[in-house]
Amino acid sequence: MQATDAGTIELGRRLDAYARARLSPDPQATARTRARVLREARLSFEAARIAVHVAPAIAASSRTMRPRLVMPFLAAAVWLGIAVGSISAAQAGGPLYPTRMWVETAFLPSDPVGRTDAELDRMDARLAEAVSGAARDDRMAVSAALDAYFQIADDAILGSSGDPDLEARVAKALNQHQDVLALVAARLADKNNSTASDAIERNIERAIEHNAAVILNIGNHEDSSGGAGSTGGGSGGGGGAADNPAASADPTHSTPTDKPDKSQKPAPSQPDRSPRGPSD
C-alpha cells in the first residue's frame, strides 16, 4: 500500500511553504519570549524553594503560643527572598502573585478588628493594582488583582459578620470601590479601541456586580438582625443561610456560622491559575 501519493506530497509542500512563510516565529520575538519565560521560571523555582523553608516554620509557629514573635521574621525572610529581582513577578498577573497573596494572608492579625482593617487595606491595594493594570491594558494583571480582591472581600465579609460596625465599614469600602470601578469601566468604554480593554471592562463589571450583591447581602443581614446590635454570640443569630446549604456555599450569602477555619490555609490559593491540563 502506498502511504502517500503525489497529490498529498504536493499538498504537504504547499503547507510547508505556508508554515515557513506565515507561521514561523520571528527570531527576536523568540529571544524575547525565552528571556521572559526563563526569568519567570527562575523566580518561580526560587519562590518554591522559599515556600518549602517557610511553610514548616509557619506550621510550627502556629502550634506555639508565640506566633506573633515569629511572624515578622518569617515575613522578612520571605519578602527578602521574593524581593531579590522578583518585584515584577510578584505584581498582579506575575507567577509569584499568588504566593504574595498567601504570605499576606498568613500574616494577618488574628483579632477581628485588626484583621478587618488589614483586609480593607489589602482590598485597597488590589483595587489600585486592578486600576493600574487597566491603565496599561494588562488584562492578566487586572484579572489576577480582581480575583484576589474577590477573595479578600469574601474573607473580610466573613470575618466581619456578626459585628455591625465592622460590617458597615466593609460595606462602605465596597461601595467606594464600586464607584472607582465604575469610573474605570466608563473610561474603558470610552476608549473602546482594544479587545484587551473589552476583557478588562467585563472583569470590572463582574467586580461591580460582585460588590453590589455583597452590599445588598450585608444590608439584608443587618435588616434581618433587626438592628438589635447582635454580636453573633446568640445561638439563633444569623438565621436564613445557615439552613440553606446552597446559600452557605456562596460567600455572598455568608453568616457567622459559615466562618472558615483560618488555620486551614497552608498553601497558596491559586484556583484560577490552574490550566485545564490532562492532570486536571
Partner: protein
C-alpha cells in the same frame, strides 16, 4: 534539535525539581512548534507571541501537577496551548474568517514570501479557512506543530483514530480546494493517517 521522549521526560523531571536550565531546554525544544500551532489559530503574530509565552508560563505553573502516566509531554503541553487558544478566541470573539486571514496574510510579507508565489500561499490560507475547526486543529497540530497522531489526539482530547479521520478529511478537502490532483484519492483513503514531510512521525 532532536530530543527523544525519554530525554524529554528527564528534562521535565529536572524542571519539576527546580532546574531552570532544564526548563530552558524544554522551551527550546517546543517553542517553534507551539508558536506555529498558535499562529495558525489566531490572527495576529503579536497575539501568537503573547499566547506562546502564556502557554510556557502556564506549563511552568502546572509542571508540579504533570504526571506522565504514558501521556506524552508534548500532548500535555499542546493541550495547554489549545486551551489558551480557545480562551483567547472566546474572550476576543476572534474568528479566523477567510477575509481576515487573507488580510493578515497580506499584512506582513516575510522574506520567504518573495521566493514563493504569494498567490499560492493565499490559496493555502483560504483552503485552511474552509476547513471545520476540528479539521483545522488536526492539520495545525499534525502538520504545523509536527505532532504524532498520538500527541495530537492527547492535545485534542480525542481518540487517535478520530484525529486521523479529521486529518484525512481535511487533506481531501484542501486538495479539492487547491485543485491538486484528486484522481488518486483512493490511495489516500487507504492511509488516512499519512502526511508528507514533517507530519509523518507517527509511531
Amino acid at each position: 534539535m532532536t530530543i527523544d521522549d525519554a530525554a524529554i521526560e528527564r528534562l521535565v523531571t529536572e524542571a519539576r525539581d527546580g532546574d531552570s536550565w532544564a526548563f530552558g531546554m524544554i522551551f527550546d525544544h517546543y517553542h517553534d512548534s507551539i508558536y506555529r500551532f498558535i499562529a495558525s489559530r489566531v490572527q495576529r503574530p503579536s497575539d501568537a507571541e503573547d499566547l506562546t509565552q502564556h502557554v510556557f508560563v502556564k506549563a511552568l505553573e502546572a509542571l508540579p501537577r504533570y504526571e506522565s502516566r504514558g501521556v506524552p509531554f508534548g500532548g500535555w503541553l499542546f493541550r495547554l496551548a489549545r486551551n489558551a487558544v480557545i480562551d483567547h478566541v472566546r474572550t476576543r470573539h476572534e474568528h479566523a474568517e477567510l477575509d481576515s486571514l487573507l488580510e493578515a496574510a497580506h499584512g506582513d510579507a516575510g522574506p520567504d514570501e518573495i521566493a514563493v508565489v504569494r498567490q499560492e500561499l493565499d490559496a493555502v490560507g483560504a483552503a485552511l479557512a474552509g476547513l471545520t475547526d476540528e479539521q483545522k486543529e488536526a492539520i495545525s497540530l499534525r502538520f504545523f506543530a509536527g505532532l504524532s497522531a498520538r500527541e495530537a489526539a492527547e492535545a485534542m482530547g480525542k481518540q487517535e483514530g478520530t484525529v486521523r479521520g479529521l486529518q484525512f478529511r481535511a487533506i481531501a478537502s484542501m486538495r479539492r480546494q487547491l485543485g491538486i490532483d484528486v484522481t488518486t484519492s483512493d490511495q489516500v483513503a487507504e492511509a488516512p493517517g499519512s502526511l508528507p514531510a514533517s507530519a509523518t512521525q507517527d509511531g
